[in-house]
Amino acid sequence: MLAAILLGFLFAILLVFTGKFFRGKLAVLSAIIPGALFAYFASFIPEIASGEIISRTYQWVPAFGVDLSFKLDGLSLLFSLMITGIGFLVFAYTASYLKGHKYLDRFYGYLSLFMAAMLGLVLSDNIISLFVFWELTSISSFFLIGFNNSNPASRKSALTALGITGFGGFFLLAGALLLGNITGTFTISEMLGMKEAIAGSEYYILAVLFIFVAAFTKSAQFPFHFWLPGAMKAPTPVSTYLHSATMVKAGIYLLMRFTPILGDQEFWNTSLIIVGGITMVYSAIHALFRTDLKGVLAYSTISALGILVFLIGLGTKGAFLAAAVFIIVHALYKATLFLVTGIIDHQTGTRDVTRLGGLRKIMMPVAIAGILAAISSAGIPPSIGFLGKELTYEASAHAETFTVIIVIAIVLTKILLLWAGFVAGIKPFVGKLPEAHKDVKAPGFLMWGPAIILAVLGILFGIFPKLIESALVKPVVLALGADASDYHLALWHGFNTVLLLSGITIAVGILLYFFVKPSIKLENRIGKLEFISPKSILEKGTHYFGVFSAFWTNVFQNGYLRNYVTTIVLFLVVLVSYILFGTAGVTIDYSKLSQVTAYELVVAIILIAGVFYTVFTKSRLAAVAAMGVVGLAICLIFVFYSAPDLAMTQFSIDTLTVILFVLVLYRLPKYLSLSDYKMRIRDGILSVSLGAIICLLALQVLAEPTNSEISDFYAENAYKMAHGKNVVNVILVDFRGADTLIEISVLAIAAIGVFGLLKLRLKSTDRSQ
């Protein structure tokens, strides 16, 4: 299973080197990867359907309880199949949609990076590795939204999306750590048995809140929803794949995954019902006011996500069943509608629905796909959408409190979603073909094929619900902690209230479609309210935060190295002397000091002479050389006190520092601009006090009782466990190797920083010349 997840990452890496093969005609071959993965996951269907759970564990950091453990149950399987299945179609579609694009290989790299991360997310059984994959999806989404990086609006949307989802990711980490603290494990399946302990914990509300923020940001719930419409700046395959079918459902996945652990509590259920309810109604209304097809779809996606959150909040068996079916319904019809929109955009060059019509004459297969998807979206029988809607109504009608309000809200949402589906799936194809689009060409099979496959599946599953019933839907409900084995999906349930509600929805929705046409006038009307939207409030907040940061930075990061050093030294002196004199008191144990030998004395004299020469010389070069002398003298002292490793490193570093100084100083003007008298006094006092404080500190340390447990352990085990006799080096490369790995990464980042800063500066001077 690890290989299945890593495959996407490996392909992304491979593309770095073999990009040019995949940029041309071979692009469509990359669809093999998700295709193969889909087949792999599909092979698990019989096992999962019989109630089995497949798990694999790879040790990662066992010391912290962080394992790479993966679990495939009904919920994971459904998501895995969606990720790979829709991934397969989107990969193929992209080959045609972005045909000949200069960075097509890069696009595929991001897509497969995303696919792998998303698979890791839904398969992780460890909450920490889940978090890592969660962040990876945010990052790949950032790259994909900003794919057209020459467009400032794309860049801004990418940054907003990353900001919001990254903010949520932070909360996920906090929630994960809190849950780990309560239960003593990071493994999700182990938490399942500790439901009561978690619910009884005083941190329960806090943990739930953290998980909520994570899920709501990722799944674009009110008031964090606004990044999703912005994310529509991405090329349409991305909107299809990430921002409707898979990534935005990661939040839903998270809520579902934690339902058996955190759910079934009043706080959990009520909050989800309220947030989901507000989101679904709010954004369904918003969809009415859009003229951009992708805008309509974005808001209807948010609304659908709201419905899912709301259903999870209802928390009954029927609601879980409805949620499981609706995830499939939504993935099928919304992905189709996005693909259709992409084709229209690609062929006609516009997504403005007021200027589209009659396209059926040119692209019949696309029209069929669009209309079928609209039917499923509207919940008209015999589509699977009808099943989803029936189940949703059924679950809402059985809500325990505020039943009437809940039913009205969900019916209103469904009516508006029907309108949105019709506008996106039917409106562009009916009526008269505008003059401007007379010469539009028909799209190729790679484009309409995926759309029609998804659309037909939506109808097929509706007519034969048996196909998905025990294979996909029931295992999901089982994973959520309810048993639905006695329930059977069917189109016909007899005459009842739910059917009546369905009929009302369809009739009112269709009437609405004929009476309310999307128009610029409507769009402008909502634009006037923009200033109180969460988006503008957040943008204002960010703006002022930026202003404040700029002010703060200018105070402290003023670009003068001497000021930095002064601040650091002053702070250190104050802090250390506060601790030293304020709390501990200085005691010096003279008995522990060793005798001074003659050669130590000589070195000390050289050192002091070097210091004085550095301070009082008039020549820069001489000062640097004298600093070198000071450094070397310190090295010698290290040697005397048996720290040869330290001495060697210090020696090399000193040599390099002097060289570096000389390289820079060599080209500076000869004139030394000396600081004035007062400043020199101030600096002198500061330096002397730092020296004195450090000296006192060192003496104080000697007087403290020492604990040599750790160093004894290293000394004893260096050869036994790590085959090395040099303890220092064994600590560096073995015992604390992870630290070293991070340190060398930091070094590399510093080098890249220096390179980037200096080279970029050079380039800008080139430009001005």
């Binding site: 040790q59 490193t649 390099l656 060289i659 080209r667 080096n729 490369v733 190797g737 060398i744």
Partner: protein, 137 residues
């Protein structure tokens, strides 16, 4: 700053110092030394050469930008930590060792490759910083 003596000497010193740096790198397992110091010494060797012969000559000698050593070294270090996870089902960065020590080199294990990674990163970082600064100063 170009003197004939330094120039001639540096041509001989460069290989000697590089061999010395590798010696220090390998020695680190039993005696003072290791990838960090070794890398610094190798970097000093190149910087000395650059001092004597000019930056362009040293760059020509290297043929590639020293910055490329950074990802190579990081990759090697990371991979040496990942090997136990991938092939032996052990936790990340578990030390793996060949049962018998090799002649001259001593015992060889994942830690040695990790140290070589450190060595390469340190050379890459040091030379990138020094070359960049001396080019733009």
């Amino acid at each position: 700053m170009r003197t004939l003596i330094l120039k001639t000497a540096s041509n001989y010193l460069l290989p000697v110092l590089l061999v010395f740096s590798i010696f220090i790198l390998l020695r680190g397992h039993y005696l003072p030394g290791g990838g960090f110091v070794g890398g610094l010494i190798a970097a000093i060797a190149f910087v000395l050469h650059a001092f004597a012969n000019g930056l362009d000559n040293t760059k020509g000698l290297l043929r590639f930008h020293p910055g490329f050593l950074m990802p190579v070294g990081l990759g090697l270090a990371f991979f040496s930590g990942l090997t136990p996870v991938l092939f032996f089902d052990d936790p990340f960065m578990t030390g793996l060792w060949f049962p018998e020590p090799f002649p001259v080199i001593g015992s060889v294990g994942s830690a040695l490759f990790f140290d070589i990674g450190v060595y390469l990163v340190v050379i890459g970082v040091t030379l990138t910083i020094i070359f960049t600064i001396s080019e733009s100063a």
